[in-house]
């Protein structure tokens, strides 16, 4: 079991490290082992298959053109519940995998109270109490756990109307929609924050490793946990070194009025 003394990624590395290989270079930290990444993308494939086939049925007046992607209306109708089952199974394993690290803590409540600062990007570096996952990520996790449960139950009720009856179907129809719409709204935020919204994040789910700078910026408490170092100090140290380097480059340029070539300004 996950304990506070044993960092989460060490636990998963021990349990699932044998599956696949994650290369962690110098200056990087292991974020997600292969098992987690495999589950994430399996869930993602089923999620989008279920979302697109579901939208074709949800609002044919807007998304009727999605049905041919799945082989036409009857096939879309046939496949959609199976996509849902696939999502539920893959997500169940991801739930088992993540339920420990997603446990809600006081730090998350604190983060949630300060969500405005997070949304406005007021802190260049996240508060020191933000661990492996922040409150927003945990909120989304639990939303998908309970929302997924609603989708699964109502979906099954609508799948077998002969057994459940027309009123159960009619109620499920509304609840299924609401739960799906919440997830649809959430997926935009999820994709945005894991790609262009927070550069350096996407590689966590592809290669499995993140830079130390990403870690002390976005998850300082986790950085402290896995490296045993102070995230703020390391950030300041990196800032000093960068400033020194920039100053050295500037001095060099003053001595050499010709523009220097073949130099990446970001290094």
């Amino acid at each position: 079991m996950t304990t506070s003394a044993e960092p989460y990624d060490e636990v998963v590395q021990r349990d699932f490290g044998g599956l696949g290989r994650t290369v962690v270079h110098e200056g990087e930290l292991l974020r997600h082992p292969t098992y987690t990444r495999f589950l994430h993308w399996t869930v993602a494939i089923f999620f989008f298959a279920a979302l697109l086939s579901g939208l074709a049925i949800y609002s044919p007046w807007t998304f009727r053109w999605l049905a041919p992607l799945f082989g036409g209306g009857p096939m879309t109708r046939f496949l959609h519940p199976w996509f849902g089952v696939g999502f539920a199974v893959a997500w169940f394993f991801q739930f088992l995998n993540w339920r420990g690290v997603m446990t809600w803590t006081d730090a998350d409540s604190k983060w949630l109270r300060e969500i405005g600062r997070y949304a406005r990007n007021e802190d260049k570096v996240e508060p020191e109490y933000v661990g492996f996952y922040n409150g927003g990520q945990k909120l989304q996790f639990w939303e998908i756990v309970f929302g997924g449960l609603v989708l699964l139950i109502t979906g099954l009720l609508m799948w077998f109307p002969e057994i459940t009856g027309r009123i159960a179907v009619a109620i499920s129809y509304v609840l299924h929609d609401i739960s799906a719409l919440i997830m649809l709204g959430g997926i935009f935020v999820h994709i945005y924050l894991s790609t262009i919204g927070q550069p350096g994040t996407f590689r966590a789910m592809t290669r499995g490793a993140v830079t130390r700078a990403w870690a002390w910026t976005n998850h300082p408490a986790w950085y402290r946990e896995v490296t045993g170092r102070d995230p703020r100090e390391d950030c300041e140290e990196a800032r000093r070194r960068l400033a020194n380097r920039e100053r050295a480059v500037k001095d060099f340029e003053l001595g050499h009025p010709e523009p220097t070539r073949e130099r990446n300004p970001r290094e």
Partner: protein
């Protein structure tokens, strides 16, 4: 279906845009009148229905009743429901009602259907299923207050009474009407049938001692194109579970036509929100950042 060219269309399920060819010609609303008080339970209408629609007689279950089977089926659209009713004075009475699609003016099946063109309502009031467009979701089953659409699990499509749209389109009366030996079934325009039904109900009240006799044409779904004359219009449930106040579930009315599009818009606002977040707030980069263009 051939009938699509014969009849003018009023509404199409899951359809984008307007209904083609609306208002081209004047069409009268058709109506089937079932006077349950003169039904003798001969089941000629049941036989005529399966014969005309070329269905073999299906297997059934015996439930100690005269009723052919417990409910209508995908290939058995017309069923006389039998109820041995004990009246207040202790005498017994057969209540027999011919059960079939009611062809509602506001059809719950059509409202619930997400498949374009799977359910069509004609201007003459007939609600018809086009199985070639049916996706087999069975929402229509849930939307119907009369438990009429039935799923065929081998074709994965839903079937029900067509009010013999193929016959009506050719100027014939429905097969059940043709077969009825007692004159219990009538077919004509809605106004004619309503007039006849009201006259018959009045006769039952004034001359036959059925004080509660009346016409069943429920206004909660805008009226139906199959109307009944009942001995006891105050208790339609006695006639094989005819609902006194048939309702289309909220899910297929306000939710589907109002809340659904609004809900979708709200969810899509998530997309707009992240786009504007990127524009106005910008990304959160790992610190420290090199000062751009200043090296």
């Amino acid at each position: 279906m051939a009938t699509e060219r014969l009849f003018q269309i009023r509404a199409i399920s899951g359809h984008v845009g307007t209904v083609p060819g609306g208002g081209m010609q004047h069409e009268l609303e058709v109506c089937k009148l079932v006077d349950v008080t003169t039904c003798i339970g001969c089941k000629a209408c049941e036989v005529a229905c399966v014969e005309w629609n070329k269905y073999p007689f299906r297997e059934t279950t015996f439930n100690n009743t005269y009723q052919t089977m417990p409910s209508t089926e995908w290939n058995y659209w017309n069923l006389i429901k039998f109820n041995e009713h004990q009246r207040e004075d202790g005498t017994q009475m057969w209540l027999m009602r011919k059960d079939q699609c009611m062809h509602c003016a506001d059809p719950g099946c059509l409202r619930a259907c997400p498949a374009d063109g799977a359910i069509v309502q004609y201007t003459n009031g007939i609600v018809d299923f086009n199985q070639e467009n049916c996706i087999g979701c069975q929402y229509c089953v849930s939307g119907c207050p009369f438990n009429i659409p039935k799923f065929n699990s081998s074709t994965k499509t839903v079937f029900k009474c067509t009010l013999c749209s193929d016959r009506v389109g050719s100027g014939l009366e429905p097969a059940c009407i043709k077969a009825c030996p007692t004159g219990c079934l009538h077919f004509g325009t809605k106004s004619e049938m309503t007039e006849l039904a009201v006259a018959r109900a009045t006769q039952l009240r004034e001359q036959s001692g059925f004080a509660d006799a009346g016409v069943y044409d429920p206004s909660s779904i805008g009226g139906t194109h199959v109307i009944y004359v009942l001995h006891d219009a105050k208790h339609p449930e006695l006639y094989g579970g005819l609902p006194a106040d048939p309702q289309i579930p909220f899910s297929y009315t306000y939710w589907k036509w109002l809340a659904k599009p609004i809900g979708l818009m709200i969810a899509l606002l998530g997309l707009l929100a992240v786009v504007f977040h990127y524009i106005f707030t910008g990304p959160k980069r790992p610190q420290p950042e090199a000062r751009e263009g200043d090296v």
